[in-house]
Symmetry: none
DNA sequence: AATGAATGAGAGTTCATTCAT
DNA sequence: GATGAATGAACTCTCATTCAT
């Protein structure tokens, strides 16, 4: 039974901010902060320009929300990762890298990475959030795992932080390649295949004699 | 500080465009294209805003000149590199990577890399120049060297283009780290040391049994 | 005078473009295209400078709209005129010229005429619209009427297009005089009287012996 | 014998201002005051932009010089005309109009007329010079001749100033037509033929019975 | 809550004018 | 006298932000 005063369909109010952030992420990732127009974000979110200001104070605020949106859900996973595996080092690395490859493939985190790189100097506090909550944590956890493996004699001597960077670099470069050169027609890299070959190669180089598979 | 007797005009046509491009490179690298103000570029170049237009038609034009300025001198070197070494693969790679590390340390190419990544979608023709003249050439030359070494039995089977990316990725990530996180206080990577360790590791993984050093 | 309680925004979308075009016509007619400032047009229209861009893409666009605004309503009348009178030639001419005098007196078409003359070389497409849709049509219709009257033996031999120009020239010159010299204090011409005397004179000269009134 | 220090060819200093004014007249006539660039005027005059300022204080000054240049030589002729002919009215008018047609055909006065019309509101003092020294004089002289002829019974009653305007209007309109519509492809008027037909027509209408030729 | 017309500060660009050479 | 590189004020245009509805 339809009461006359009742609205025929109700917008899910609770979801508005989420829809806006999603739309903003797309536009920011595509254009960068400055070249992104609020008009376009509003249009893609299916709301009016004025509505953005019901949920976000300024454009910068919205930008921060976009970055936060990406950082937040991954913090937990990085934390979990820090309480690491007791098994062999190469298993840990493979599972961890595999997980990151999955995230990179499934989400639009790649575009946000590009944004953070491009706007780090204009939004230092965002670079800080990104670094402190995500990058540094992940890199630190990986470096700690390397160090532990070195202590067990599983991995050759060497700077653990550098080893950690070596392990994930091709993935990051592959993502940047995708964001930068694939749109102009360059051949993409098959990220899972790339990382499989990379881990085969680099783990062979890292592992001590006795630990080789 | 303005001394009263100081001349208002300077009149140094020959050097002006170079000074302006240098100033613009600094500002663009720091702020990105859109957030860079012509006022600031002019001020840093020590000229008036109007003077920019004596040498460059538009802001975009100046931006292109900045990118071109970095691409141009490196094209020749990439070409030379393509006509490569007959010696052992690892020697070639070490010398080549060493050279690139030198360029990265000595020039402000890092900031330009960041710009190109950030503005690739807004200036596809710049992404194309950068890719076609520089990145693709260098990666292709390296991949060809890998392939030749594989044919000689020096390097294990595997995708040569992926190998090429693996070899230089940490350097690129190190540069991006420097541009992104060092300004907010993160510890930088020692690029030469990083790449020394990386090549030791990754070459061990790449070289076939008989070719190991 | 700004009363404190007065609203800052007015929100009258329906009427805005019309108000703006009217204000623009005044300013363009007074100053010419280049010397007309958007600030002044906006002020006279009672809107902000930015509001102009809600309705017109560029200053040139607004200029075209002003010219179009004047051309459009007169096209129909010129068309009607082409399907002319069957009566005696002098009656046709008197009624027609009388009508044009009325339009010139009642509207600000005079200022727009001045604009079109002044900017024809910079906006050839406007000169073309003005010529094709208005001037050439009107002159052609008048010339056709002359030719028909000549065929009936009512008007002496002679170039019909030239006769048409002779008939309306003093009106145009009178309008230009009003726009050019009256503002500096010159005595205006009484256009209706001028044209009455002119038609008396020139029709006497044009009509064949038997057709004289 | 050539002394070493002597210049091989000497610029005619005395002519510089004249060359500049001629070039300026072309550009102003083509573009109007505001759209005319000093760069272009200097280039057409074959001098540097700075050189303009050796002879003229400002752009407006140069504009005034251009108008003056056209007004000056014609003032004398108008004066001569004022001390008029004793012969029959129609002879006077034919010779006078014939002279003006000659001037209009031989000089670029047409473009200047257009300029004066277009810029009269921005440069009232120029409109005044043009009016007081040229237009008003010529029209007054012609009106005086009409009045004298009326006193002699040669010309019908009627407003002499209006008669004067009627006599020359088609010439002015023909010139404006040439400047406005011929550049976009409209057919020009043959001014001498137009004025011949016009005088035949209008004099027939003006002259009293007994004075008809 | 939601809209979108309106604002106005600030950007890129032009060009008459200046002045060291 | 002559140059033309350099200036800077003034312009058109953009867009994040506001607020009457």
């Amino acid at each position: 039974m339809l009461n006359p005063g009742e609205p025929k369909f109700r917008r899910r109010k609770a979801d508005r901010p989420g829809e806006i952030v999603r739309a903003a992420m797309d536009v920011f990732a595509e254009k960068g902060f400055a070249a992104a127009k609020l008009d376009e974000i509003a249009a893609r979110a299916g709301v009016s320009k004025g509505a953005l200001y019901l949920y976000f104070e300024t454009k910068e605020d919205l930008f921060r929300a976009v970055v936060g949106q990406v950082v937040a859900p991954n913090i937990a996973q990085v934390k979990a990762l820090a309480a690491a595996h007791p098994g062999p080092f190469s298993d840990l690395v493979r599972s961890l890298v595999g997980h990151v490859v999955g995230v990179v493939q499934a989400t639009s985190i790649g575009g946000v990475v590009k944004m953070v790189i491009g706007e780090a100097r204009n939004f230092p506090e965002l670079a800080r959030v990104w670094h402190d909550d995500l990058v540094s944590q992940a890199l630190g956890a990986l470096a700690a795992a390397v160090e532990a493996a070195q202590a067990r004699g599983e991995v050759k001597p060497g700077d653990p932080r550098a080893y950690a960077l070596q392990l994930i670099s091709p993935l990051l470069v592959g993502v940047i390649w995708r964001e930068t050169f694939v749109p102009i027609g360059a051949a993409p890299f098959d990220l899972p295949a790339l990382m499989r070959q990379h881990l085969d190669t680099v783990l062979t180089g890292m592992l001590a004699e006795g630990a080789l598979p």
